[in-house]
């Protein structure tokens, strides 16, 4: 079997919960707790879950904005796996060319004192790619591609002179300017107006195809994940509880949490009657959680098996539909 573009194995991030000034941290938030998945070249995976379940933390580890506590991230380089966690200086440079990120907040993710040209050309500039004129050409090309033309009207403006949608287009241009093979997009449309979202999502899909980019698309909106992604992973308190092809996941959810999540999503059709949501309460925080199933407190179908065993492993229930639950 060939190596997929990205292979994540038992990735974990624990944040110490500080206790007093001199006391050693004894409690940890298990923000991401041993998750594993793969993304093939040109594929996109949606990471879905409620606020605080560890989606952004996962994205930040994959882009090396944050070090993992443990686990492995392997990125294929000409078919050879490169361990992202123990990368050399040289390796880091290649890594930064291959992995990029699009952020949630188009207002805060650009330096207000730098022009659009400076912002989009930044990856080229800091990595010393091309001459100034070549960079200018390249940036202009990308601005055209993301629908900001003529580029001359945008190149030397500042972010505050553009609307939210335009800025997010700039963010996409910046992420794609060095032809990366993998892009983490952390809720790129959630701060945009509904009417602009689709055009930004379409743009990402189109350019993703054109540039052969794989996405990890982080969102709390299942409908958006369905629109954007080939496969969807559902996270709950640091664990992936279900992972499957998008349509399969939506039409045949197996994990009780996925079922609840799906039936809670409002549907833009007043004649549609949703199934009642079975679970109560809200998501908590996994601070030194017991070794049981993470979902046990809210699970409507938990039995003795669940109470007597560790967190269930993520298993293939056939056709690449992975679920972590004893009762499936």
């Amino acid at each position: 079997m060939t190596m997929p573009l990205l292979k994540v194995d038992s990735l974990t991030k624990l944040f110490p919960v500080q206790r007093g000034l001199f006391r050693k941290p004894i409690e940890f938030v298990h923000a991401v707790d041993g998750i594993s998945f793969e993304i093939g070249s040109g594929q996109s995976l949606g990471l879905v879950g409620e606020s605080g379940c560890g989606k952004s933390t996962t994205g930040r580890m994959l882009t090396r904005l944050m070090d993992a506590t443990s686990g492995q991230i392997l990125l294929a380089d000409n078919g050879n796996p490169v361990d992202v966690a123990h990368i050399t200086r040289d390796g880091m440079r290649t890594f930064r060319r291959r992995v990029q990120m699009i952020f949630q907040d188009p207002y805060e993710s650009m330096n207000p004192r730098r022009t659009i040209f400076d912002t989009v050309a930044e990856p080229l500039t800091v990595q010393g790619i091309g001459t100034v004129t070549e960079r200018e050409e390249k940036v202009a090309d990308l601005l055209r591609l993301v629908g900001l033309s003529p580029p001359e009207t945008f190149l030397f403006r500042y972010p505050h002179e553009l609307s939210g949608g335009q800025r997010q287009r700039i963010a996409i241009a910046r992420a794609l300017v060095i032809n990366p093979s993998f892009v983490v997009a952390d809720e790129p449309t959630s701060m945009l107006d509904v009417s602009i979202r689709i055009s930004i999502m379409d743009l990402m899909l189109k350019l993703g195809d054109e540039f052969d980019v794989s996405y990890l698309y982080i969102t709390h909106d299942l409908a958006v994940a369905r629109y954007m992604c080939d496969r969807i992973a559902v996270m709950y308190l640091g664990k992936i509880v279900e992972l499957a092809e998008s349509e399969e996941l939506l039409s045949n959810p197996l994990h009780p949490y996925t079922k609840a999540l799906l039936s809670a999503v409002p549907v833009p059709d007043p004649s549609f009657k949703r199934a009642p949501v079975e679970i109560k309460g809200g998501i908590g925080k996994a601070i030194n959680p017991p070794p049981l199933c993470r979902f046990i407190e809210r699970c409507p179908i938990a039995t003795d098996v669940c109470h007597n065993n560790d967190h269930p492993p993520l298993e293939d229930k056939g056709g690449g539909h992975y679920v972590a639950c004893y009762l499936v």
Binding site: E50, D193, S199, S263, I283
Partner: protein
């Protein structure tokens, strides 16, 4: 659905502009709608289209720089715009109350939630309730919104986001209003919590027979809670009708595109129709139909003449010259 008898609320040709240094922001432009007792109306539109401005005007709480150019807001026949601040204060919370946008973050962190609700009640219920009466009323309110009454003595930081929002709703209900306005009450919440709160809200509305105005930018949420829907664009009401009708046969191009560009988890996976361009600057709205720069159905008439808001079917109003051109099926085929 539509109860007979006198309407509870009539908004008639309301025009409101914010006066700013850079000019007039035309935030409400000729908005007209009627609401009966026990009805629910959803106001939907993208941010900045004037939803909150309408709500604040109904409450008599619009910003200082708001000027009403024309129109009336009649509550049970009485024009609220003609009332002075004192008279308005007496009606606020008792006749109309509101869950403000972002209110769940506005609890004062140093006081117990119960005390803060109590204070609001004391301000608005004359004569003041006795200690015991107030306590039992607050307990009943908390139960109604799905909170344990023992939470009344807790501080806001001990509440989760969803619980804080429930408490806000309890506070809005504290004076038995006839109309409650909820401005984006679930926007910051996760879907499961949102679902719980929407259910609670609907249940309470049925129980108490209140009228509800539900404001959201999320058309899917509106589909869940209201029986009538008003679609706003750039300060104008562009379509108004029963929720079923508007969702299944939207006649205004903006409403149509909004629905076509809303991703859903149900139905076949289809290509969505993007809405190109961006909402106009209300300091200088486009002439003619305000939607014309983004409208795929635009004709020359639209660029110069403002379409009237007319009945195209009983109870279904649209402001568009070319509403007949709008396809009947939702989808990317536009």
């Amino acid at each position: 659905m539509t109860s007979n008898g006198k309407p509870l609320l009539e908004v008639d040709g309301l025009v409101m502009r914010y006066q700013t240094k850079r000019g007039q922001v035309s935030a409400i432009e000729d908005v007209t709608f009627t609401l009966h007792h026990g009805e629910s109306l959803g106001l939907v539109g993208e941010s900045g289209c004037g939803k909150t401005s309408v709500a604040m005007s109904l409450m008599g709480l619009a910003a200082d720089n708001a000027r009403y150019m024309s129109g009336e807001i009649r509550l049970e026949g009485e024009n609220l715009l003609a009332l002075n601040e004192d008279e308005m204060r007496r009606r606020r919370w008792k006749s109309i109350s509101m869950v403000f946008q972002g209110a769940m973050n506005s609890w004062n962190p140093v006081y117990r939630v119960g005390d803060q609700i109590r204070e609001a009640m004391d301000l608005h219920i004359q004569p003041k309730l006795s200690e015991a009466a107030a306590k039992s009323r607050m307990a009943r309110l908390f139960e109604m919104v799905g909170l344990n009454p023992s939470m009344l003595v807790r501080f806001p930081h001990e509440f989760s986001g969803g619980m804080r929002q429930r408490a806000v709703i309890a506070m809005a209900l504290s004076c038995d209003p006839k109309l409650i306005i909820a401005d984006e009450p679930t926007t910051a919440l996760d879907v499961i919590v949102q679902d719980q709160i929407l259910k609670e809200l609907k249940k309470i509305q049925d129980q108490l027979g209140m009228a509800l105005i539900y404001i959201s930018h999320d058309i899917a949420v509106i589909a869940e809670v209201t029986d009538t829907i008003g679609v706003m664009y750039a300060g104008k009401l562009v379509e108004y009708g029963s929720t079923l009708e508007v969702f299944h046969r939207p006649r205004h191009p903006y409403a149509y595109l909004l629905l076509s560009s809303t991703p859903s988890i149900t139905g076949p996976r289809r290509k969505l129709a993007p809405l190109e361009g961006e909402p106009p600057n209300l300091l200088d709205p486009p002439p003619g139909c305000r939607f014309h720069p983004r409208c795929p159905f635009v004709t020359d008439q639209c660029r110069t003449e403002d379409p009237p808001f007319v009945d195209i079917a009983p109870g279904h109003k649209v402001a568009c010259w070319n509403w007949q051109q709008v396809p009947v099926t939702i989808g990317a085929s536009a």
